[in-house]
């Protein structure tokens, strides 16, 4: 059980693992593709998450979710087998809280794995209603390259962080995993090894290599089982296939603008999705007809422009002397959204 590690009170308070725990965790994650951390979040934080979840989705019983999933796109609610639904949560309240999105313990563990420019790819909740059957063993995403032998040999490209919002006993059905399966080339190998499942408590979180084979266990209890999933990935990895017909991060631009600057780059996709939703407002094909000059005042009906500019992303600081070394292909720290080399890096 070297893949289950309890966070000490000191570690939780300092937001940093003891060096010994840290190396044990890393070794376990490499080997198993999975670690279970106990006590990353306080039960007060988990309860706040549960309240916010209930405010957004609590009124939806199984029948209502089933009906909602059948609606045409865009649809934030997707059926994921049996009485299980995966829903993009609005990043309101605690779900927009940097201490949740960028939990210090988690981020310090994940950054060396996924790069300092890692991104939050999605924030969803999976609700399994009583009566859910066991899921098929599956990976969250296939190997990046199908060339024989290559995918399993590559370093991790994304990590799914599962955070149960209630205590999940074996009756209610946690997620079962096939340890080491991130290195399996084919899924058929599940027959050769046993699935492992242990009960979850509030405050736990389970980190899964995106290639790990896993399955949601049946819910034989009487309670719906909400589990929050945060997916962190390398900057060049995007998971579209699990988010058909919906955005995987739903944060209003105004909320994004309120985020502290250090966490903005990691959450930049929330900004991107929000900006893209505005895209069709303009009919670019009639640009020519508009003739740009004289510049019209922005109409009141589209007050977004200033907000967008304000919300402009990874603005480290306005003073370029403080930026340190910036890669030529990194976004310019001034927040223009351009590559550094096309912006302030043009005449270094």
């Amino acid at each position: 059980m070297d893949w289950i590690v309890a966070v000490s009170a000191g570690e939780a308070a300092s937001g940093e693992f003891d060096p010994e725990t840290d190396s044990r965790l890393r070794a376990a994650f490499q080997e198993h593709g999975c670690v279970l951390l106990r006590g990353v979040f306080s039960s007060a934080t988990i309860d706040a998450m549960h309240r916010e979840y209930a405010a957004q989705l609590g009124a939806l019983d199984l029948a209502a979710m089933r009906a909602q999933a059948e609606k045409p796109p865009p649809n934030r609610l997707i059926g994921v087998g049996g009485a299980r639904y995966d829903v993009t949560l609005r990043m309101n309240g605690v779900f927009g809280n940097p201490e949740v999105l960028a939990n210090p313990l988690l981020i310090k563990f994940l950054r060396p794995l996924l790069g300092k420019d890692m991104r939050l790819n999605s924030l969803t909740v999976v609700v399994s209603h009583p009566g859910s059957s066991q899921q098929q063993a599956h990976r969250d995403h296939n190997h990046l390259f199908s060339e024989p032998g290559l995918g399993p040999s590559l370093p991790v490209y994304a990590v799914n962080v599962a955070i149960p919002l209630i205590d999940v006993d074996l009756e209610t059905g946690p997620t079962g995993v096939w340890l080491g399966s991130h290195r399996f080339e084919h899924m058929t190998s599940v027959q050769a090894s046993a699935m492992v499942a242990i009960p979850w408590q509030r405050g736990d979180c389970m980190l899964m290599d995106y290639r790990l084979l896993h399955a949601g266990l049946p819910n034989r209890g009487t309670q719906p089982r909400p589990v929050l999933y945060l997916v962190y990935g390398r900057r060049w990895f995007a998971d579209d296939v699990n988010h058909i017909n919906r955005i995987p991060l739903d944060m209003a631009l105004e909320r994004y603008a309120e985020l502290p600057e250090p966490v903005r780059p990691m959450l930049i996709r929330a900004y991107t999705h929000a900006v893209r939703l505005r895209w069709p407002e303009a009919d670019w094909s009639s640009l020519a007809a508009q003739r740009i000059e004289p510049r019209p005042a922005p109409p009141a009906a589209r007050p977004l422009a200033p907000a967008v500019v304000q919300a402009a992303p990874p603005r480290a600081t306005a003073d370029s002397a403080n930026w340190g070394k910036t890669g030529r292909n990194e976004p310019c720290p001034c927040g223009s959204g351009k590559k550094y080399k096309h912006c302030h890096g043009r005449n270094p």
Partner: protein, 345 residues
């Protein structure tokens, strides 16, 4: 493996253009399929050099139609208008790329939505085996350089994957290919794209010798395929002509080029255009285009996950009360109200 600099002489000796230029025969063009020998030759050349010039792969009539449409949409802006547009806040399809050069996310409609372009059979025949079964069109844009544009910095479209482990990236198979399609005949004066063959396999710290650039005129109907890791540059525009080049990026389904297409909705194909595309040219090629279009134009993603408003009957417009023009139509069609039941209102 090349370390450090190469001289022009060495490059010409080692990389005569003929090695990475392939001209399909009239019969291959007509069939939309390469002969097995030529396909092997093309793949070998692309894997070795990280670039490939296909002569006459696309119909010139299509290129001319795209050019005419580009001019109609953006031509009248001129340099100063383009500059002005590029300074507007996002979402903005016009993005400056150095002095006198702009990248424009082209809405895929009209000639830009014709499958013989973005889903060209010869092109797909080469790309699909390289990029795998989930190959998608990742972006679709035009880079226009105005007279006086200087030579671009020598750059990769994207750095190596898994950058913290430098041995991995240069040895991986290709993950994205940028296909440059000039909309006018581009001679050396106007400034084609210059490439450094084999640089897709170079470590990040290996610098390109500017004098060792490989470059040749590109005509309408030609296209140049560039491994996303290959060092390249836009040559200076010393002519009096505006130079539009269409860039279509094809990539493995999971690849995201956040830096180049930041906050931009590319590929930008409206759903009504998507609906007209023949099945064979849709998935997975247009998966990203579809996914982005579905997420946005029918209104913000369904904000109310709760039960429908009390007393609202989707079948009875009289029960709907006031509906915002941009809200989802209460009938459940998924369209905006203004494009559905609100159209006649």
């Amino acid at each position: 493996m090349h370390h450090g600099r190469m001289t022009t002489a060495a490059l010409q000796l080692e990389y005569p253009l003929s090695e990475w230029v392939i001209a399909p025969s009239a019969e291959e063009r007509a069939r939309g399929q390469f002969s097995p020998e030529r396909l092997r030759e093309a793949h070998a050349a692309f894997r070795q050099h990280g670039c490939l010039l296909l002569r006459g792969a696309l119909p010139v009539s299509l290129i001319d139609d795209m050019r005419a449409e580009f001019d109609a949409r953006y031509g009248v802006l001129g340099f100063s208008g383009m500059m002005e547009q590029s300074r507007r806040p996002p979402p903005n399809p016009v993005d400056p790329r150095g002095e006198a050069r702009f990248e424009i996310t082209m809405r895929m409609s009209g000639a830009f939505a014709r499958p013989e372009g973005f889903a060209n059979p010869l092109l797909r025949g080469i790309l699909a085996p390289l990029l795998g079964g989930d190959m998608q069109l990742n972006s679709f844009s035009i880079v226009v350089s105005y007279p006086g544009a200087a030579m671009q910095q020598i750059h990769r479209d994207h750095g190596h994957l898994f950058a913290s482990e430098p041995d991995i990236g240069p040895n991986l198979p290709v993950y994205a290919v940028n296909v440059g399609v000039p909309l006018i005949d581009v001679d050396l004066e106007i400034g084609p794209t210059g490439v450094w063959p084999t640089s897709h396999r170079w470590a990040p710290n290996v610098e390109a010798d500017p004098a060792a650039v490989s470059v040749c005129p590109i005509k309408r109907g030609d296209c140049i395929l560039i491994d996303y890791r290959t060092l390249h540059t836009g040559m200076p525009n010393r002519s009096a002509q505006v130079r539009p080049i269409l860039y279509m990026v094809y990539a493995r389904g999971w690849f995201s080029d956040e830096a180049t297409h930041f906050g931009v909705n590319s590929p930008d194909m409206p759903l009504e255009e998507y609906d007209k595309i023949p099945e064979a040219a849709r998935k997975p090629l247009l998966y990203r285009a579809l996914s982005q279009a579905v997420r946005s134009p029918r209104g913000a993603p369904e904000r109310e996950a709760r039960a429908p408003r009390a007393g609202l009957n989707p079948a009875d417009p009289a029960s709907w009360g006031k509906v915002g023009r941009n809200d989802a139509c209460p009938c459940g069609s998924g369209k905006k109200y203004k494009q559905c039941h609100g159209r006649s209102a």
